[in-house]
Structure formats: C-alpha cells, structure tokens
Amino acid sequence: MAMTARQRAKVSLYVQAGIFVVAVAAVIIAVDWKTVGNSVFNFAKIGPMFPDIFLVGLKNTLIYTALGFIVGLSGGLLLALMKLSSFPLYRWLATGYIEFFRGVPALLVFIAFGYGVPLAFGVQWDVFVIVMISLGMVAAAYIAETLRAGLQAVPKGQMEAARSLGMPHWRAMVSIVIPQAFKIVLPPLTNEVILLTKDSSLIYVLGLTASQFELTKFGRDGISSLGAGLTPLLVAGAFYLVITIPLSLLARKFESRSARTKR
C-alpha cells in the first residue's frame, strides 16, 4: 500500500513512541524495586557524608583537576610546538610521548608515579605532586593533539603575513597564530577538562589521608560505612555532574560562538 511521505513520518513516530513505552514498562516490571530502594536510592542514611563530600571531596576533585590541567596545558603546548618543529628529533620525541601516554591506561600512570617512581628513586612525594605529574602527563598527551590541530587550522597566510611584517617566527606564533588557534581549541579543550575531572578519580589507587579524599573516594568509603548500598556512589556521581554539565554547556557556547565568527 502506498503511503505519502507525511503518512510515513507519522507511522515512524508512532512506532518509536511504542518501542519507548514497551521498554520503560519492561524495566518497571523487571526491577526489584524494594532492593533498589534499599541499596541505590537509600537517601535516608547518607547524612554523614555531608558536608565533607562537599567541602573536602568536591574541593579536592576541583584542585586535582586544575593541577592536572595546568601541567597538561603547558606540557601539551610544548609537545604541540615540538610536533610542528622543523627539527626531526623534536617531532619524534613528541610523537613517541603522545602515542605512549595515550596508549597506556591512566591508572597505570598513577600507579607508576604513585608507587613505582618514589620506590625506585627513594623519594617521598606529596599526593598533590603525584596527581599533578600523573594526571598532567596524561592530559598533556591528549591536549597536545588538540592544540596541534588548532595551530594547523590557522590559515598559512596568517604566518606569512606576520613574517612579511618582519616578525620573527616566535613572535608570529605568540601574537598571531596562537591567539587564533586558542579560539579554535576552546571547545575541545573544555571537553578535555571534563575527561580530566573524571580521570582524577583514579587517585583512589594511592593511599590518601582524609583531607586528600576526592569525590569517588568519598563514595567508595560511604559504601562500606553507611549501609546504604550503592547510594553514596550515586551522590558522588551527582557531584561530578555538577562540575561536568556546566563545562559541557560552556563548550557548546564556545562552539556556537566560533561558528558565528567563522569566515
């Protein structure tokens, strides 16, 4: 039977709505709501998590992320410039670094810098230093690729015009190319911060004192001490969203702005 395009669209809409209703109904029927209520949505018992998860956990997650980002951004810029260098050795070193740190799990990097390096060299590092190094070094690898793409997205004519005005290469980079690349990379860079925020949870592999706990650690401790099942993790997860959703909105705003001023 022949249908018009409009009829077809209508049928398709009904089918999709039907699938949704059936799926939701299946979940409602299949789930054991009593157990879920006790062990996932048991908000009555989570009182003791507050206010520390907020004052200490959230604060530390933000600090760890910021430390990782600062190191990652500086390292990433250096690596990006090395990767675009005319000196082959720099390019190889940067490529090797980037491929290595993007290729191994961040967790291994945390263990290596948290236990391996201090043990091997007999040094005692503060947790903040370990986070700064491990998170920063992983972030640098990802950020480097983002920045390299941004730098290469600036039209070649910009560098040529700057050099034609007598600017040395470094000056043209600093005053002309990097500011334009920065606008281009702002959205992907914001996404890097979101990834970093989540990666900061890997710090749980290190031995932490109470004042160094971050969100995930609070969630895990809550599971064993509060008897509210997984509810503390849900709370910790909600706090992550408090950080990441605004960042995500920010990234989208940057994106639409750069789309508007695109020529």
Binding site: P155, G157, Q158, E160, A161, A162, R163, S164, L165, G166, M167, P168, R171, S175, I176, P179, Q180, K183, T261, R263
Partner: protein, 263 residues
C-alpha cells in the same frame, strides 16, 4: 617618478636586483633563471598566465620562498646571503596578498600597530599615530576600531596596504591585490596603489589589470613557464608586443568575450 606634494613624507625607495633566480619544487622547476631590475621609485608590473611563476618570484623577493640559485638584492640587503638579517630586511619590504591575510582577531588599528610595537619597538601612541595616518592615506581613517570581518573585500585590502605602509617600507610587493575583489571595489584599491606610485614608492606588482599596468607601470614584464619572455615600457609590451607568447596571452586577457576556464 616625482614625489607628489602630498601630506606624507617622501618615500625612501629601495631598488630590487634579481639575477639568474632559480626555484624548484621537487623536480618541477618553476623559475628558470629570472633576471629583473626595479629601480628605486619605479613601478614594475608582472603579467603572465596562471602557473607561470609570478607569485613564486614575488615570494622569493622577501624570502617567503627560498630560492635554489641566483641572487636577489633589495636596497642595501642581499636577500640571498645566508647571513642576511631576514626580519630586518622584511621590515623594509611590504607585502600585499591576494587574500589580504588581515589578522582577524585584531582590530583594524591593531592590525596596523602590532608589528610597529613588537618589531620596531615604537611606543603605543607613536604606532597608533602612524597607523591612523596610513589608514587616512588609504581612505579608511574612520574604520580604525572595526574588525576585519566587518569590512568589504576592497576595504580589507586597503587596510592590508595601510598595515604594510605602517612599517615604512622602501619597497612594496603586490600579489594580485584585486583578484579576489568584487568588481566595484577594485577601483578603490587601484586608486590607492596609483597614489602610492606617484609618491615614489618602489612597487613590484603581479596583476591582471592591464589598464592599471598601462597607466601606472614604468615597465611591464611578461613571464611564461618560469622565464621572462618580454619586458619593456608598458606601451610596448601591452600595446605592441613582439613575442608570439605575449601576443597570445594579451589576446586572451584583453578579449572580453574570451572565457578563461583556468580562472
């Protein structure tokens, strides 16, 4: 050429001397031994079919491209000397590109001051005086606070000329400055260039504007396939060419009914 009694100071013009210039990209020899002289204060127009090497020649003069052989002298600089102070030399050579290459993140005024302050180390106020004077000179004094994307193509190109002039160049290179413009804005740009020529600026201009060449150029150079085929006073080369290749080229450019697929 006589300096006009304009508001601007007389130009300190430099000459250009090119001898046996060769340039290859891989195995493709693009310039096959070019010799060309531009006396101080002279205007030389470079014409020729697409791919004949005009842009490459121009870009060799301020070393945006590295020649493979031959010598180039610009004023007191030997551009092809490996020890030449490239940035110093480029300060005295203004370059105007087909696609303007204005800095989109800077205002019109900042486009004209950034190199003065960062390279020539002029004070902010001096640089901005010079910039405003040169923006007046190209008829855009009241656009200083705009951004490049708020200007028409013709206005952008005049800003690009003002930007180059703000470095007090002794030689100006133009690479098809009107080719990317809407027909109605071409005239404004050519008028600025004509005035510049009258003020005694040395100019090397790649152009398809035969009217401009005939009227303003002291000499016209016709290039084809990497060699200078014919050169001389404009009235000779354009109005009474002797070489078959020149005749063929001019017939195609000057015949308005001819459709050039390559353009």
């Amino acid at each position: 050429m006589n300096n006009s009694t304009g508001s601007t100071a007389a130009v300190r013009a430099a000459g250009v001397n090119i001898k046996d210039l060769r340039k290859s990209y891989g195995s493709n020899e693009v310039l096959k031994g070019i010799s060309l002289t531009v006396e101080p204060g002279q205007v030389v127009c470079l014409i020729g079919p697409s791919g004949s090497g005009k842009s490459t020649l121009l870009r060799c003069v301020n070393l945006l491209e590295q020649p493979n052989a031959g010598t180039i002298n610009v004023g007191s600089f030997e551009a092809t000397d490996p020890d030449v102070d490239l940035n110093k030399m480029r300060q005295s050579v203004g370059m105007v590109f087909q696609h303007f290459n204005l800095f989109p993140h800077l205002s019109v005024l900042e486009n004209c001051t950034i190199s003065q302050t960062k390279v020539l180390k002029r004070s902010k106020s001096e640089a901005s005086d010079v910039a405003r004077r040169n923006l007046e000179r190209v008829g855009l004094g009241h656009f200083a606070d705009r951004f490049p994307d708020q200007l028409s193509g013709g206005q952008q190109q005049r800003v690009a000329i003002a930007r180059a002039l703000s470095m007090d160049p002794q030689l100006m290179l133009f690479d098809e400055p009107t080719s990317a413009l809407d027909p109605e804005t071409v005239g404004d740009v050519l008028a600025v260039m004509r005035k510049l020529a009258q003020e005694g600026m040395t100019m090397l201009v790649v152009t398809h504007e035969m009217g401009f060449a005939r009227e303003v150029a002291d000499r016209v150079v016709f290039m084809d396939a990497g060699v200078v085929v014919e050169e001389g006073p404009a009235e000779n080369v354009i109005s009474a060419p002797t070489q078959p290749r020149t005749k063929e080229f001019l017939r195609r450019v000057l015949d308005p009914t001819h459709i050039d697929v390559a353009d």
